[in-house]
Symmetry: C2
Subunit: 428 residues, 2 copies
Amino acid sequence: MKLTHANTDVLNTLTSLRGEADKAYQELKDRNLSLDLTRGKPSVEQLDLASDLLSLPGVNYTTSDGVDTRNYGGGDGIMDIRALWAEALGVDPALLIAGDASSLNIMFDLVSWSHTFGNNDSERPWSAEEKVRWICPVPGYDRHHTITETFGYEMVTVPMTEQGPDLDAVRELVKDPSVKGMWTVPVFSNPTGWTVSREVAEGLAAMETAAPDFRVVWDNAYAVHTLTDEFPENIDIVAVAAEQGNPNRFWAMSSTSKITFAGAGVAFLNSSEENLDWYRGIASARGIGPNKVNQLAHARYFGSAEGVRAVMRKHAGILAPKFTAVTGILERRLGGLGIADWTTPSGGYFISVDVVDGTAARVVELAKSAGIALTGAGAPFPYKDDPDNRVLRLAPSMPPIEEVEVAMDGVATCILLATIEAAEAAGE
Amino acid sequence: MKLTHANTDVLNTLTSLRGEADKAYQELKDRNLSLDLTRGKPSVEQLDLASDLLSLPGVNYTTSDGVDTRNYGGGDGIMDIRALWAEALGVDPALLIAGDASSLNIMFDLVSWSHTFGNNDSERPWSAEEKVRWICPVPGYDRHHTITETFGYEMVTVPMTEQGPDLDAVRELVKDPSVKGMWTVPVFSNPTGWTVSREVAEGLAAMETAAPDFRVVWDNAYAVHTLTDEFPENIDIVAVAAEQGNPNRFWAMSSTSKITFAGAGVAFLNSSEENLDWYRGIASARGIGPNKVNQLAHARYFGSAEGVRAVMRKHAGILAPKFTAVTGILERRLGGLGIADWTTPSGGYFISVDVVDGTAARVVELAKSAGIALTGAGAPFPYKDDPDNRVLRLAPSMPPIEEVEVAMDGVATCILLATIEAAEAAGE
């Protein structure tokens, strides 16, 4: 947002608050805090929900269809977990592969293998293209950007809206045959918490792309991660793509990382039969199959798709108060001043705050000096470059709620002070 | 081996045995067997050794140095398993990364990332080279060959000897700057069971290579997989390479796949600091870290390096009789005839049999018709092409010993019959 959006009264008010803000900031520093709102990690309390998993699968190592999970083989993963997860997400288990713990691993490999070999719709490997461009809805997920940056792709941004990536902007970009793909987090997106609407999903599925091998990475990391009593609509994006005549459009991932254990869960790839066959062809050169014992442990732990939802309600019970604390403090301290906008997600792991243009990095700096670690300004943008120096990503999941409250009150002070500094500089 | 190696008496004897061999083969077929000697997989009895692991790590999820294994992070893996495994293998834990289950995954990624980005000693990515050639000691491991074939590298063979890859042949090949790497299984090699001597190891470490980014993949899959009371000498190949002035020469892997659960163990990468830093740089774009819960479960299961050895003695107790059965039957049925040579490994998972040139595929075919599945002739060679049609790979670990005995007696009959056919054809 622009400072000029704040009216003259607000500007005057801000300037008059300088002394008060300085005092509040000095008091904040004097507390010698050491708090951290940077990490989208589950808290110990959340991890404790899955304690039973630490002793699973237990003595019975056989799947319900008779597979000994301890031995080699089974590149698609075991059907027990595939069927359960497919039901939880509302997708076709035959088009769902269960892998090791990390969906990020799968995304990297899909890009890497398209780069080296081309994918099943490629005329040539992406590495043989003069240039590869990649659409990044912003603000977005930093680790997505890291992958495409690693492969030297030119990242082009489109605005993320409350309905999903700006469809007109995307449609314009995909007329360029060098545009090979697009990142998206469709549900409770990182960091805004926004969810792609069915209309936008259908638009992405239906649109014509100049590149025949264009892919949308549909990173459904927060598919069931509600903060309320309600679960989001699950769009079976692979089915939607088939209906719209572009069956190979999406590579869809999900995982249990923020449901059971972060880094020790089960990750999934859902896509068309052709896409999966291409993936299997290379995956089977890379290895003999995923960790089926861990998959069976997860199937036993959840029991059913309803078991997944039951666990998620418990997570919501822990997380929702932290999110409420964040938005409540922002509202109380900054509401009505016209100097900050923030999202109020009903799921996911992050809250995104728009501060006055040019001040985000200063807020992070002020917070750091006061012992409050915030994600670096720019982190949700390709090349870590927020062109407006505007967006803050807040991650309240990890610290105890008392710390979230103290930290957020401090952050509000830092936003206020940074804005006043900017107002003064503008007035000079 | 060549049929002419068999003396005239043997040739006459063979021809005179035709009727008897035909009868034996017919009887074999009449048994309607369904036996399988193709798979280098542990048996159920072996997998049962690790039953305790199915309920580990148990309620205590914290490493001895205080890491909560359930959350994200720790790209190098946990120190508990790294220290234990480093001691078991006699390597430096600081140069040992613990990953997910599959060392094959690590090998594929090392080649893939050298291909796309170049490794830390590359002048350019391997994909930018006009041609990449790769040394394959033969007979060797088919899944190694699949990786280099996937990347389109030209595989050139050197003989595997009882002391390791033929060093003179290797030294000659590495004068070519397009030769970028070499596969090797240093201990109880697949499929011969032979082990690289210290002298050959030092030679590989010391030799000059035209390519500055040449790498030996030191796939120590059977490092502790003895069939006797004794464990093989563990060569700390990364230290040897440093001593010889080529610290980055080796990428060394190992895993617990055939110690605990195949496909659900822990895999390791041991290399120089520079090599590991390069690997970490890309691995950290690919993901957030390995499954630390499974690593902790393994550390608890083994308890110590001596715990690893104790488990391996139990494996030897199960496997050794099967190996003895194989070599015993070969000796009893074919010994002294000069028509087959076989290895008598003191460790590992395979036995390699040289039959008369031109007959290996026929032996596999005859066995198949009699209900005995053997690994395809040619499998241990690049492009699955055994130029002499000579080598059979036998894998006796998976079936119960009674089945191994029946199958091997049948295999001996097939070898005999195929040789007689060849002798008759030669006499025509």
